[in-house]
Symmetry: C2
DNA sequence: GTCTATATACGGATAGAC
DNA sequence: GTCTATCCGTATATAGAC
């Protein structure tokens, strides 16, 4: 929401932004035509150019607005006051399910595709997304450590490792078109939770 | 190397293929212009069109040829007859370093970017890549299981988990422009190896 | 088979009426 | 502020000479 000299807001701003968003997310930056965007926004091309000085400015706005929209609501995912056992798997399930949401995937694909055309945009995106994924996990782990439910350790590292294992297979495959089904998601979440508690839990059973 | 009716091979075929490869990998499908490709290949546009019926055929050829070139030499990475301890971390280091190679990253980015424009191409790519990454890990694990160095378990699952944790953080970040340095790679590889042996090893020390 | 030159369409961006 | 109509460069693809 920082005022951008290249962007003038007006009546149909949201409408335009949504249209642009839809087309960019579908076709990428180079693949998107402003004619298509105008059609999708139900606005004339000239109107587009009253809002944005050119296509690249339009793209930047779409990226930051989409990221803000997608990543903000997740922030209110507070750590829950429950034992690590079953809840952790549920939580990881939620995170993975969220990350596999079509909207989330499209934005991620776009960010990757345009990474070296718009490095600044994408850097910002990466930070926001990272925060949305590993921070909840880390907060939860920290709470459990504080409560003495699990052993003390470097939660920054372990939360990143958990996130990596949780998303490391599913996201690349989903980005390439093979989205895992619910059962597969659940199994992955369980594996992660199991492995985490096995390594960092207090009462681990090595024969399990 | 399957004969494609849309492709006629000739004297400058390789030259053309390399030029197209360079431009597509740099600019994506929609972003690449055939003028640029012709320039990069030091060939006229007309010559391009004697080899490929159109741009999309050119793209498909680039994808499959690049994948074949990048993924084939890795196949001869045989499991080594060593104890899991130090060697596993080294091996994982190799895998991660390879996956972070600029050429490998560019192809991966392209595959993701064009996933829904060329689903067939990308499906093939995904399988080849998967095989290159988790198969060596799995083969190594299987060997150790057979030797009795580590406990018996579902190596298919564990190798995928190891691969996920190994690549899950580094690859997305690298795709978005933030390639980790050697130390970071080494640390990640070590974490993975440590965690794997801790969970599946025979002589684990839980206080470590 | 390979080139130069060109057809044809589509792209981003703008002029000017309202 | 929003539209219709248009400019003009660039894009893909081809014709035809050699």
């Amino acid at each position: 929401m920082t005022p951008d000299p290249d962007i003038t807001r007006g009546r149909k701003f949201e409408q335009v932004r949504r249209g642009a968003s839809a087309i960019f997310l579908r076709d990428g930056f180079a693949g998107a035509s402003v004619d298509d965007i105008a059609r999708a926004a139900q606005v004339s091309k000239a109107t587009l150019y009253t809002y944005f000085t050119d296509k690249s400015v339009m793209f930047r706005e779409v990226m930051s607005a989409s990221a803000a929209e997608l990543f903000d609501p997740r922030m209110n995912l507070e750590p829950v006051d429950l034992p690590p056992d079953g809840h952790f798997a549920d939580m990881l399930d939620d995170v993975l399910t969220w990350a596999l949401d079509p909207e989330c995937l499209r934005l991620h694909r776009l960010a990757i595709a345009e990474a070296h055309r718009f490095p600044d945009c994408v850097g910002n995106y990466l930070r926001l997304r990272e925060a949305c994924i590993v921070q909840p996990i880390r907060a939860q782990i920290d709470l459990w450590i504080k409560q003495g439910s699990i052993r003390e350790h470097d939660s920054d590292r372990s939360s990143r490792n958990v996130a990596a294992m949780l998303l490391g297979n599913a996201i690349p495959q989903a980005l390439l078109g093979q989205v895992p089904d619910e059962d597969r998601i659940r199994a992955t979440a369980r594996d992660c939770a199991w492995l985490f508690t096995l390594v960092h839990g207090i009462h681990q059973d090595m024969t399990a």
